[in-house]
Symmetry: C2
Subunit: 176 residues, 2 copies
């Protein structure tokens, strides 16, 4: 149940319709918590039913503008401050584990491919970093920058790890 808190978070900065929020998801939260249209609309209705948000205005084409309520703010705060154990379940890591089942050369190629893909991801994030005008006084930017740093370090770590793995595979080839 994270989408609901992402939505609450966006609404805590400014009210908006489902449609607005979708675009905000795409711009600000795209790399952190992507949302689908269908899921967002259902969740907004649920949140409204539970009183965590409310319709503050209606406009053309059935537009409903939502705002966060006090109950919503309390729930957001509660969730943000509640630590959570996350099992770190990455299908790509499972793939590595199962590389034992293919020929060493193919396994090596798999790492080479991943390395290229992750370098591209890293470049994307670096572009985001460079393109954004960070305002330290704005808490949104402040923590956004920290979240981005996580992404940057994660991708760098991946790239380094893949290089390490390739070296390891090369220097001690498995017995033929």
């Amino acid at each position: 149940m994270s989408l609901r808190h992402a939505a609450l978070g966006l609404l805590s900065r400014a009210p908006g319709s489902g449609y607005d929020l979708l675009r905000r998801f795409d711009t600000t939260l795209a790399h952190v918590w992507p949302a689908t249209q269908s899921q967002l609309y259902t969740e907004l209705n649920r949140l409204a039913a539970e009183g965590l948000i409310e319709v503050v205005a209606t406009g053309a084409r059935g537009r409903k503008e939502y705002a966060i309520t006090d109950a919503g703010r309390a729930e957001l705060r509660r969730w943000v401050l509640t630590p959570e154990e996350v099992p770190l379940r990455d299908p790509r890591l499972l793939r590595v584990f199962l590389l034992a089942d293919v020929e060493p050369e193919r396994a090596r190629e798999a790492f080479v491919d991943r390395l290229a893909a992750d370098r591209a991801h890293l470049a994307d994030l670096e572009a985001v970093l460079a393109a954004t005008d960070w305002d330290e006084a704005d808490p949104g930017d402040r923590y956004g920058r920290i979240a981005l740093e996580f992404g940057l370090r994660f991708r760098r770590m991946e790239v380094e790890w893949e290089r390490w793995a390739l070296e390891r595979l090369d220097e001690a080839p498995p017995p033929a």
Copy 2:
């Protein structure tokens, strides 16, 4: 659909019953791809229905021993070598993003707590590294070691990142 491939992977090393596999999941794949009992049994039946595995023996208490088939091996191979884009969706990262909604002191505390938790995770993995007797000649160990290295580097990266974030939060406190 990763559990199915994890199961295929385990069966490709040795045949076994659902019950056997469950224990193998807990020991070898616990940190990579945890499985629940209920899911595994349903998946084994599905895999058998599709001919990717087959019952090779039945024993006491309704025990069914499965083995991977050629079709199963082909499917495993296909999946392992198919690269996949993974959106890296971590609820903890979303939490960071939403820290903008709580007081700076509380946000700082959240990082301190995470730092402690991640240091503990790192210690766990280091214990696994030390406790295992790695046999480079065994492909399972070979790639298992590489997967573990990912976990180690990931946790180290997290710890470093949290220290970086704390410094950043301290050196440039937000305007009161």
